[in-house]
Symmetry: D2
Subunit: 180 residues, 4 copies
C-alpha cells in the first residue's frame, strides 16, 4: 500500500453472546474432569488475526446445552433482542453447546423475525482447550459468515451455514447439518 | 438427528491452486532458513474439520510472490481457467504470497471475466508452521467465504472479503485491505 | 562434526510400560467425556527429538490409577521384572496415573530390590491431549533422568526425581513431592 | 498427601544465561525473516510446570552462535563465573546456538575448572517458535539434567548429557553428539 492511498478501515462490529457449551470446556486438574468454570472465548478470539473486526463479548451463562432450560433459552433471546435494539452492531454471534443449538436457533428465528443484521449461532464438537479442536475454525468461520450472510438467523459450523429452521445435529458424523 | 430424518449431505467441491507464498514457508534446520521446499497446505487442510467440503489441491508452483514472474502469473490464470472450464467445481481457492497477491487478483479478474463460481485468493502474514500463524484462520475463512460469496474474484484475509480490483497490501498493519 | 571424526552413537535402550492414567486421557466427542480408549504415549514419543534413544512401548493396561487393583499392581511388577530379566535394556520407564503412583512405586521398590538399571515411574497432572499439559515435559524429563539416575526405583515429575519410598502426591500444588 | 505430612519443598535454584541461538529465533512478519529481536526463553519457561524449581534469567546477548566473537565468548565465561561466585545457585544453565556451542562449552570448562555445581549448556535445532521444535524438550531436559549431573560443564540435548570436552555438533543427524 502506497502511503498516499486512501483505504477503507471502517471496522466491522460484532457482539458475541457466550452461553457455554463444549467449545468452552477446559480440564480441571483438581477434579480430573472437564468443566465450564473458566471462560475461554476471550483467549480464542485473541488468537485470531482480524485487525478490522471488533468483537465485544457478553457472557450470559456457562452451561452445557443439555442443561439449558426454557428460561435460559428465553434469556438468550432477550439478550439478542437487546443487542439488536441498541443498533450500532453489524452482526451478532452466539456460542452455544451443539446438543440443543438447533432449539435455540429456532427460538431466535421465531422471536427476532427479520433482524436487521446476520445472527450466527455456532459451537464446537471438541473443546477449544483440547487437541484437534474445531473451536477456533468454527469461530473464525462464524465471523467470516457473519460478514457475508444476509440478515436472519443462521447456524455455522465446519465451513457450512445453515438456516435456523433447518439445522439439526448429526450425531453420527459429529457436525451440524441441514434437513433436506 | 433422528435416524429417519433426511438430511442434505451433498458435498461442496473446491479446487485449491497452491502457488507458494509465506503461508507455505517452513523451517529448514540444515540451512537455518525458511524455505518453500516442503508443501504444507495438505497438512493444514487435514487440520480443519469440514466433513461436507471436498478440497482437491493442485500445486502450480512454490514461490515467494516477489519472485512470481509475468509468465508465472499467466500460468496461474490458465490453471484457473482450466479448472473452471472442466466445471463440476463449486469454488476455486488460490493460495499466494501477499506481496503481489493484488496483481494476481487483478489478472484473474481481467482474464476470467464473469466466472460462474467464486474465485477466492488468500495467503498469510505468518507461515502455517510458525507460532501465532494466521494461515489456518485464513484458509478456514477463505473456504467459508468461497461458499457464501457471489461468483467473481475476491481476496479473503483476516475475516474480510475484498473485490479483486480493490485489494491492496497494508504493510503497516500487515493485512490486506481495500482501496476506498 | 568433521567427516573423519569418530563419534559415539551407541543407542540408549528404554522399555516404557504404559498403564493409563491422566497422561493418556483424550476427549471422546461422542460421549463428551475424557476417555482412555485411545493410546497416546506413542504420539507423544514421536513428538520428541531423541535420535540416539530407542524406546519400545509395552502396553499393560489403560486405567485410571484409582481403578488399579492389587492384581493390576502385581501385573505391573511382574512386567517390570520380566523386562529387567531379559536384560539388554538401559532403563525402564513406567507411565501411571498420579493418584496411586506412590503405591506402585513402593511395590516396585519392594519387589525389584536392587534392579541393575534405573526404573522411573512418571505421569501427568494434565492429559497430553489437553492445553497446557505437562505430559510431554514429564516424559522428556523421565527419559533424561532415566539416563542419569543410579539404578533403583524413582518417581520423576515436574523436573524432580524422588526416591520410591518417599514419593507422595501433593494435591494442593498438583505435583509429586517427597516426604521430608 | 495428608495434611499432616511434612514434605520437602526447598526450591532448586537455577540461573539461566541467555545468549541467543536458533532456539530464540522468531518470525518477523515485516521482514519475512527469522530474527533474534524478541526474547523467547521467558515464554518457554512459563510453559513448563516445575513448581519447586526457581529459574532466574540473565540475558547476555542475542546472537546467532556463528556471530559469537572471542570477546562474546569471554563475556559468557565471565558471567558464568560471576553467578557461581555469588553462590546461592544450585545449577547454571546456558542457552546458546549449536554451531559454536562446543567452543563455548570448552571455554567454560577451561575457565571454570571445578565449578561447585552443574553447568549445563543447551540450545535447539529448531526455534521454539516454529512447528515441531525441540526447544521446550531441550530446556526441560537441561533443567532435569542440571539437577542430577555432577558438578562440571556438560552439554545437554535430545535426551543426552555430554562432557564439555567431548561435545561436537552432528550436522548430518542434526544433534549434539560425543567424540568417541
Amino acid at each position: 500500500m502506497k502511503a498516499t492511498e486512501s483505504v477503507d478501515r471502517s471496522p466491522f462490529n460484532v457482539v458475541l453472546l457466550a452461553t457455554g457449551g463444549t467449545i468452552e470446556k477446559s480440564y480441571d486438574p483438581h477434579s480430573g474432569q472437564l468443566s465450564l468454570a473458566v471462560p475461554v472465548i476471550e483467549g480464542l478470539l485473541e488468537s485470531l488475526d482480524m485487525p478490522d473486526v471488533s468483537v465485544r463479548i457478553e457472557r450470559l451463562m456457562a452451561k452445557d446445552s443439555l442443561d439449558i432450560t426454557d428460561a435460559d433459552r428465553q434469556a438468550i433471546v432477550y439478550a439478542a433482542q437487546a443487542v439488536l435494539e441498541q443498533g450500532r452492531v453489524d452482526a451478532l454471534v452466539i456460542t452455544h453447546g451443539t446438543d440443543t443449538l438447533a432449539e435455540t436457533a429456532v427460538a431466535l428465528h421465531v422471536a427476532l423475525g427479520s433482524p436487521g443484521v446476520p445472527v450466527v449461532i455456532t459451537g464446537a464438537m471438541r473443546p477449544y482447550r483440547v487437541a484437534a479442536s474445531d473451536a477456533a475454525q468454527n469461530i473464525a468461520q462464524a465471523l467470516m459468515a457473519a460478514r457475508l450472510l444476509a440478515p436472519g438467523v443462521h447456524a455455522v459450523m465446519h465451513g457450512r451455514a445453515i438456516d435456523a429452521e433447518r439445522v439439526v445435529k448429526d450425531y453420527e458424523r459429529l457436525t451440524l447439518t441441514a434437513r433436506a
